[in-house]
């Protein structure tokens, strides 16, 4: 990485559990080029100034979802946020809000992964289809019903943005509820009933307090707030029908 032409101060959250009693901010002067991302700034620090700084990253192109972090208190992807937009002011980089800090900018994501695993995030077709039968037919309109909700990169920025998740981490949260909605809305899927109990609970769609900051910070325009909203309406109907037909719920 070549030395750039301007210098920006980056205040980076540091926390090494084996030696630091609590997290603190450390300031680094980063010489940068105009097209550098915050991630490139962090890589410069690691390569040139302080090899002990830890952070997750890989693809550099906003698709692997590794480098979610707080940049001046806003949840953002480090690889798609540019230093030039902060210069000549300094810039503060912290670990994603609402997750325990493992070290420096690395957070513990077990809760998110467990939630993802618990919603049956896979197609549950009415009847299994054999390979010889070819693909399920699905029109572009049917695809469009869930397509947007299938583009979540699991970067968890929406969890850092969600006040409800911050208050009570039992809430399933925006990204995973959007994923549940993605499968429920897929014309090939028949698993909605199996996902219903969690979806209907206080930990599910009803836990959302409709702040919609999740959709604002989403780098992929997944719009989880919209997914949740659609389900609150659907869920209300299901809830009502459950009273008049206790054996099962309407589809």
């Amino acid at each position: 990485m070549a030395e750039g032409t301007k210098t920006i101060e980056m205040e980076i959250l540091r926390y090494r559990p084996e030696q630091d009693k609590k997290p603190f901010y450390q300031t680094y002067a980063v010489a940068f080029d105009n097209d550098w991302s915050v991630l490139q700034g962090l890589q410069y620090i690691k390569d040139e100034l302080d090899s002990s700084l830890s952070f997750r990253w890989s693809c550099r192109m906003a698709i692997c979802g590794s480098c979610g972090m707080m940049i001046d208190d806003v949840p953002r992807l480090g690889c798609r946020t540019f230093l030039r937009n902060y210069y000549p002011n300094k810039l503060r980089v912290g670990a994603l809000e609402h997750f325990p800090i493992e070290r420096d900018l690395v957070v513990v994501v077990d809760d998110f992964i467990n939630k993802l695993e618990n919603i049956k995030p896979y197609l549950i077709p009415k009847q299994p289809r054999k390979l010889e039968q070819g693909e399920f037919l699905q029109t572009p309109e049917q695809l469009e019903k869930y397509r947007q909700f299938s583009t979540c990169i699991n970067c968890m920025l929406c969890y850092a943005a969600c006040p409800q998740y911050g208050l009570d981490s039992k809430f399933t949260g925006p990204g995973i509820l959007a994923l549940m909605h993605r499968y429920n809305s897929d014309s090939r899927d028949d698993g909605r009933d199996e996902r219903l109990e969690l979806g209907h609970s206080e930990q599910g769609f009803w836990g959302c307090t409709a702040v919609a900051y999740c959709s604002e910070v989403c780098p992929k325009s997944v719009d989880p707030a919209n997914a949740i909203n659609q389900n609150k309406m659907g869920s209300a109907v299901d809830y009502f029908l459950r009273f008049i037909s206790p054996q099962g719920t309407a589809k």
Binding site: D35, S51, S54, R60, M61, Y122, P125, L131
Partner: protein, 590 residues
């Protein structure tokens, strides 16, 4: 059973094991969470014959010709026959493939492919395949994931691979996983070069581990340059840009590819003409344009223009939304109104751990599939949209084969394995415990990337390759004097980075020596020093590089398996049509 790597290959293999025998426990080990694996970054799509005017024969011919006849044809025959069913399987698992109005999946054109056969999910096909596989894998209770476990070595005992040693990244603790068979789906080694499209994790780990244990790395000199990458960062602008009708222009706005045997230049390029030619030829043409002074100078080097303007904003947002986003966000360019500056960057490792049709490596009990393997389907140049099917066709096969092997062997006395595992742990730990080292791995990595670009770039000469070989030898020597400053246990990425540079350097050496020794030009290996032509007499052969410890790799050769396509003229554009006709005539007469 253990699988290393939880990208497309590893996940597909894990599901195959779980479906073959649910009683087999599968440890799926990955240094990142599965959805971070580099499969995620594949954009354009995956090849599988579906159209009435297409055939397995055509896909076979395109692949073998695209690979400049260095493909093992028995493997290509198996491959093309199994692509479509594996893509349908992904569809049954929920992959949101783009559709035609009648509800059937849609296909797009791709470079070097005679008929449209590339399945796609907008321009995030790899992302959708990876997430579909990851989410589907959650259904199978026999798959136990070890997310963020960094594999440092495999354990070989009694002549076969029986497990692996990994560092739990969160704690720095070692884990030994005993396994009756191990599958590598560890991906490529693009990070050996400086300017590349690859994620930071693509560091050749599996290749280096297998190599150090005596498995040969095959055809490593064939590193693919993708012609359309972002200057500076090397980020990828998918070939689907051209599949959808994008054009390549030089500084005069001229479609220069017509000067390199790819023409004629028609308004919309025909398949296998012009912009729909193969990647090696396009990258080479850009190199020549630069020499002729017909490229555009930028702070990040010489570029040509990728012109998508005529496609219009609506189509761009529908078919190439990620490309639109990258151009806007990273470069401040609106591709509906401006051309995108692009230059070639390292993209794909055609070579890898030698594996046969059944994904077996020469190390019993070790299977390899996907980019880390060289099973012979890509030859000297991979065609776009063949790698996303490679990972599912051979990932599945590796799962089935390894599961059968696992059932056929007995466990060895664990004490013997643990002794070896403990030695592997000591080796990895030595990097971080020593205090008298001087070298920084970030410096070695940078010098390696630059040297590889100088010596093993798009065009190569013996003195430059020789210099790179010597440089890599020097870097490997300096690596022994490494200083890992961070001595902590929790999430010590300084230590993991040092281990990765160790893997990279071994792979880099195999690449450089394999290149130096191949005295011909074929596919992605092009020379300017008296070996400008393909030499089927001496080099219709795979290169095998064997590890020798501190010394240079030992280079041997192996015959290419030819079943039905004799090496012929590799031509595109109008010349390609003529060559096809000639071949058919010969076939009729013979």
């Amino acid at each position: 059973m253990a699988i290393v790597g939880a990208g497309g290959t590893g996940l597909r293999a894990a599901i195959a094991v779980a479906e073959t025998d649910p009683s087999l426990k599968v440890a799926l080990v990955s240094k990142v969470y599965p959805m971070r694996s580099h499969t995620v970054a594949a954009e354009g799509g995956a090849a599988g014959v579906v159209r009435d005017d297409d055939s397995h024969e055509y896909h076979f011919n395109d692949t073998v010709e695209g690979g400049d006849w260095l493909c093992d044809q028995d493997v290509v025959e198996y491959f093309v026959a199994h692509c479509t069913e594996n893509l349908v399987q992904l569809e049954h698992w929920g992959c949101p493939w783009s559709r035609k109005s009648d509800g059937h999946i849609n296909v797009r054109a791709f470079g070097g492919m005679k008929v449209e056969r590339t399945w796609f999910a907008a321009d995030t096909s790899g992302f959708h395949m990876l997430h579909t596989l990851f989410q589907t894998s959650i259904k199978y209770p026999s798959i136990k994931r070890f997310d963020e476990y960094f594999c440092v070595d495999i354990v070989i005992e009694d002549g076969r691979c029986q497990g692996l040693v990994a560092i739990e990244v969160a704690t720095g603790k070692f884990t030994f996983i005993q396994a009756k068979a191990v599958i590598f789906g560890t991906g490529g080694a693009g990070r050996v070069f400086r300017e590349n499209t690859n994620g930071g994790i693509v560091t050749g780990d599996g290749m280096a581990m297998a190599y150090r244990h005596g498995a040969p790395l095959r055809d490593m000199e064939f590193m693919q340059y993708h012609p359309t990458c972002m200057p500076g960062t090397g980020l990828l602008f998918t070939e689907a840009c051209r599949g959808e009708g994008g054009l390549l222009l030089n500084k005069d706005g001229y479609r220069f590819l017509q000067d390199y045997g790819l023409g004629p230049a028609e308004e919309k390029p025909r398949n296998k003409f012009m912009e729909l030619g193969p990647r090696d030829r396009l990258s080479q043409a850009i190199w020549h344009e630069e020499k002729k002074g017909r490229t555009i100078s930028t702070p990040h080097g010489e570029v040509v223009h990728l012109d998508l303007r005529h496609l219009g904003k609506k189509k761009l947002l529908e078919r190439l939304p990620l490309i639109y986003e990258m151009a806007e966000e990273y470069m401040g360019i609106d591709p509906a109104h401006e051309c995108i500056p692009v230059r070639p960057g390292i993209h794909y490792t055609m070579g890898g751990i030698y594996a046969n049709l059944m994904t077996e490596t020469p190390l019993a009990g070790l299977y390899a599939a996907g980019e880390c393997a060289s099973n012979g389907i890509h030859g000297a140049n991979r065609l776009g949209s063949n790698s996303l099917v490679d990972i599912i066709v051979f990932g599945k096969l590796a799962g089935v084969e390894a599961a059968q092997f696992a059932k056929s062997v007995k466990n060895t006395n664990p004490a013997l394995l643990e002794k070896q595992a403990s030695a592997a742990e000591d080796r990895a730990l030595a990097l971080v415990t020593r205090t008298d080292g001087k070298e920084k791995h970030s410096v070695l990595r940078r010098e390696m990337g630059k040297s590889m670009e100088n010596g093993c770039g798009i065009y190569r000469t013996a003195p430059e390759m020789q210099a790179t070989c010597e440089k890599i030898t020097e870097l490997r020597e300096r690596y022994k004097n490494l200083n890992v400053e961070d001595k902590s246990s929790v999430w010590n990425s300084d230590w993991l980075g040092a281990l990765e540079v160790g893997f990279l350097l071994d792979v880099a050496e195999a690449i450089a020596y394999s290149a130096l020794n191949r005295k011909e030009s074929r596919g992605a290996h092009q020379r300017l020093d008296g070996y400008e032509h393909r030499d089927d007499v001496d080099y219709l052969k795979h290169t095998l590089a064997y590890y020798t410890g501190d010394g240079a790799p030992q280079i041997e050769y192996q015959d290419v398996i030819i079943t039905k396509s004799r090496p012929g003229t590799r031509a595109y554009g109008a010349a390609g049509v003529a060559a096809d006709e000639q071949r058919m005539k010969e076939a009729d007469n013979g």
